[in-house]
Every structure is written in C-alpha cells, then in structure tokens.
C-alpha cells in the first residue's frame, strides 16, 4: 500500500495486527486491522476528506469517534447491497467492504457542487420560501426537481434487501445502558446483588471511555480493568451482555427499544429488541460540545477525546502538527499527552479567553488564526485542530455573532 500514507502508529491500540482486512474507498484499495472502525481505518490510510456537506458541498472530515459524528457519512456496500448515510465512526470493519463518498460530482476532491457557494446570500436560511415563486408553475416544473436532485445525501439502493431482520423481547430487573466505568460497575453490583441484569453497549467491546484512558482502577490500568470486568460479567449467569446494541428510545412505562447489529456469520443483519426493565440505569457518558468558528468544518478539525481515542484505542495518528483549542484543563492535558505519545508536534495551545478567528485550508485545515488575551493576532500552520469547549470559554468571532454556512 505504498500510494496511501500510513498513519498507523508502530504499536499499541486495541486492534489485532494479525488480522488484516481489505476495503476500498472511492475505488482506492486500503487495508486496516480487525478492531478498527471505518473512521480509524480511513484515518490510518491518511484519508481525512470523506464527505461533502449537504447544501454548499463543503469538504468534510471526521470530527468525532462516536455516534455524535455530524459530518463523515458514506455509502457502504457489502453482500446485502449498498447502505447510504452511514457514519464512519459507527461502522465496525469487516473484510471486503466497498466504501464510497456521497453527494459530490464528479469526485470528492473536485466537486462542482462547491460552486453553489458562489450564489452566496441568495441561499440564506429559508431562502426557498422567498424565491422561485414566479412564474406560477415554475416551482413544481423546474425548480423543485433541481433542488431535489441537489438535496439528499447518499443514494438508496432500489433493489429489495434480502437480509434477515428479527424482533425480540427481553425482561429484566436492572437494565444498564452504557458500559463505561459507571455502567460496568453498576451492572456488576446489580448482578452480584442477585438482580437479573442486562448491560447494553453500542460498541462491539465493553469499556466505553476506558478503552482509551490512561487512568487506573483498583490498581489496574483502565483497559485491563475493562477486560477483567467484561470477563466477570460474562461469567455471571444472571447477566446478559449485549454489545453492538444501540438503545435508541424509552417509550411508555419503561419500554426500552434497542437495535442489535449482526456481525459476519449471524443469521440476522439486525435485531430490534424491546426490553422491559424494573429499573433503568443510564450510564451513557457525554458527548463533547465544540465551539463554533469559521472554517470549523474542515477536515483535520477534531474533538479532543476523539483524538485521544484514535491514538490510544486505534493506534492511529490523526495529524503531524496540532493546534489545541480545548478549554477544560483535564481534557486538554489528556489530548496533549496522547499527541505527544504519538509524536504529534504541538504548534500552539490556546488559553481560555482567546478569540478564535478562523481555520483555513481548501480540502484540509492548513492554518489556524486567533487573537490572544493581549489582543495580538496569531497564526500558525497546522494539519490538526483539537477542539472542545463545553463551557464556551473561547470567544467566537465578532463577540457572539458568527455567520456559519453549511
């Protein structure tokens, strides 16, 4: 694989380097390891640009490492046909996937849709209510078909889907959703107390944030504790551990609905679970909240814990020179430590109170501009911006009004 850059770190990570998986992205053959998600697989192959935005066709990369991924949607083709709009962060890699980018013509790099941006103000929010009114039937006959073709993301495969799906029910005393440190501990405690317990985890292994943590629990490092606890839970007869299962809603009288995704060799491609529990414990962790600034959607701009996750869990280096705009100290230090371990150069670290001006670059971020607390304008080259601002500590351009087009 000499023509694609290899961003895999030489060692570490919860991947099995003995099992190589083949896949392709927009026709280019790539390889990854068992244990990768599509996101980490693409990043390992240096592929940051993976999508185009819905309206202006802005280049989009991988922002997160979980279900909160807003940008990186692709079409994945397997033995069942193609499935559009999958988040790369949610696809667990298996051998032989064909992955294609969406919403671009003729290609991801040279998308003519980007010229929509030249229309600028005419396409402001809600523009369609105010335009295309005349002549009378023109909306239906001319404008609507054009807009319909521009809209939508992936293309749905029109052939019937021959995969099997199933619906099943479960009942328990305690249902724990999420298998991070809190979820694992809750499930173990409930089960040891005699309760029939179900632990649901959307990932394919238990552990949640433990899988990329450097902390230790009970004298063990986090990943070992997660593995031990997983083993302990599996050994208990009154616990059902459901991985690859996403609880998506709570309905009347404590009904939890969840989707289990099958893996290679399973009869069912997916199973819809309806679970009634006496008690439900949500241990789902948090989703990182970014700060909004111009250019914040460029490939190479990534959430802080996502960066930690790609480095520690998947042994992938998401860049070579980083700007750190992480407001919370704990998260900032964790991200910096991870990047230092991966050999990523830290170009700048923003302090809370700094004013972010913009990130620039055409298909990938290449520079970052901000004003420091003395009002001095700073600019540095970079290919990675690490980004997190839960409490809005950074100041956005123009004080608070930011005109962001998507």
């Amino acid at each position: 694989m000499s023509h694609v850059p290899d961003c895999r770190l030489p060692d570490g990570g919860l991947i099995d380097r003995n099992i190589t998986l083949n896949f392709s992205f927009d026709g280019i053959a790539m390889q990854c390891y068992s244990g990768d998600t599509l996101a980490s697989a693409l990043l390992a192959n240096g592929q940051h640009l993976v999508a185009r935005s819905l309206k202006y066709h802005h280049p989009r990369g991988i922002v997160s490492a979980g279900l909160e991924e807003p940008s990186a949607l692709v079409t994945v083709t397997d033995q069942y046909g193609s499935t559009p709009n999958l988040k790369v962060t949610e696809v667990v890699m298996r051998d032989g996937l064909t992955v294609t980018s969406q919403n671009n013509h003729p290609s991801l790099k040279r998308d003519y849709g980007r010229f929509l941006k030249l229309g600028g103000g005419a396409l402001s929010a809600g523009f369609y209510y105010k335009t295309f009114l005349w002549p009378k039937h023109a909306w239906h006959k001319y404008f609507a078909p054009i807009i319909r073709n521009l809209a939508g993301q992936g293309r749905v495969d029109p052939t019937p889907d021959h995969a099997h799906y199933d619906k099943r029910r479960k009942f328990c005393d305690v249902l724990v959703i999420g298998s991070g440190p809190a979820g694992c501990a809750a499930a173990l405690t409930a089960a040891q107390g005699g309760a029939t317990t179900i632990l649901i985890e959307q990932d394919h292994i238990l552990g949640g944030s433990l899988l990329y943590s450097q902390d230790s629990i009970d004298g063990l490092n986090a990943t070992d504790w997660a593995a031990d606890t997983s083993e302990a839970l599996h050994a208990l007869s009154n616990v059902t551990v459901m991985t690859r299962t996403l609880a998506f809603g709570q309905y009347d009288h404590g009904l939890i609905q969840a989707i289990e995704t099958g893996q290679d060799g399973d009869i069912n491609r997916a199973i819809m679970w309806k679970i009634r529990a006496r008690k439900i414990i949500l241990a789902t962790g948090a989703i990182e909240r970014p700060v909004v600034f111009p250019g914040n959607d460029k490939p190479g701009i990534m959430l802080a814990n996502a960066v930690c996750q790609y480095i520690r869990r998947f042994a992938v280096s998401p860049g070579t020179r980083a700007v750190v705009a992480v407001a919370a100290e704990e998260d900032r230090l964790r991200a910096i430590a991870a990047m230092q371990d991966a050999g990523i150069e830290i170009a700048a670290i923003l302090s809370p109170g700094d004013q972010i001006i913009s990130a620039t670059g055409r298909l990938h971020v290449n520079a970052f501009t901000w004003k420091n607390d003395k009002g001095q304008r700073q600019r540095t080259k970079c290919d990675l911006v690490v980004w997190l601002d839960a409490n809005r500590a950074y100041i956005c351009p123009d004080g608070r009004k930011a005109d962001i087009s998507c």
């Binding site: 309905y251 009347d252 009288h253 404590g254 009904l255 309806k274 009634r276």
Partner: protein
C-alpha cells in the same frame, strides 16, 4: 407502548388489548321502547358526549376507560389512565364480556 395491568393476567403489553374508550354510564332507558325527548337527549349525551359532567370523555388528565384483553383472558378491563403522561394510577376491575 403501554403496560396495562390486567386483574387476571398481570402486567401485559398494550398490543394484547383493544381500546374500548371512556367508560360510559348508560342511561336507564329501554333503547327500543323509550322514544321520549329526554331519553333521546340522554342517549345522545352518553353516546357522543361525556357520560356525566364529572366523568368527561376526553379529559386532559385522569380518564376512566376500558380495554378488551383479547390476547389474554378475553375480559374487559377498567383502568384509570392519565392522558397527559399515560401513567396508570390504579387498576379497577375486570369484568367478563
């Protein structure tokens, strides 16, 4: 999906039941024989409006209603359900169809 406690079968899923609507208190008239104006008004009131002012048929709050447990004991079950949040405050009684 509601979880309705049937007095005979215990807590069962909504899908086992058919809805019978607000509990109606039928007027004390012979439907075939009594054609007086009062009888007509009483029937109209019970069938289309609220059985009694104190028992509104479409309250935003507690509603006394009946469900047919076709997927279980085949009895009508009477419950009080709050239409604002679907909480079932107390089970009343089941009666044979």
């Amino acid at each position: 999906m509601l979880l309705i406690t049937c007095p005979h079968c215990g807590p069962r899923d909504e899908s086992e039941f058919s809805y019978g609507g607000a509990r109606r208190i039928w007027p004390d008239h012979d439907a075939n024989l009594d054609q007086t104006e009062t009888a007509m008004q009483d029937w109209h009131q019970t069938l289309y409006l609220s059985s009694t002012p104190s028992n509104p048929s479409n309250p935003s709050g507690p509603l006394t209603e009946i469900w047919y447990h076709g997927g279980g004991c085949e009895c009508w079950v009477e419950i009080i359900r709050n239409t604002k949040d679907h909480s079932i405050s107390n089970r009343q009684k089941g009666h044979a169809s």
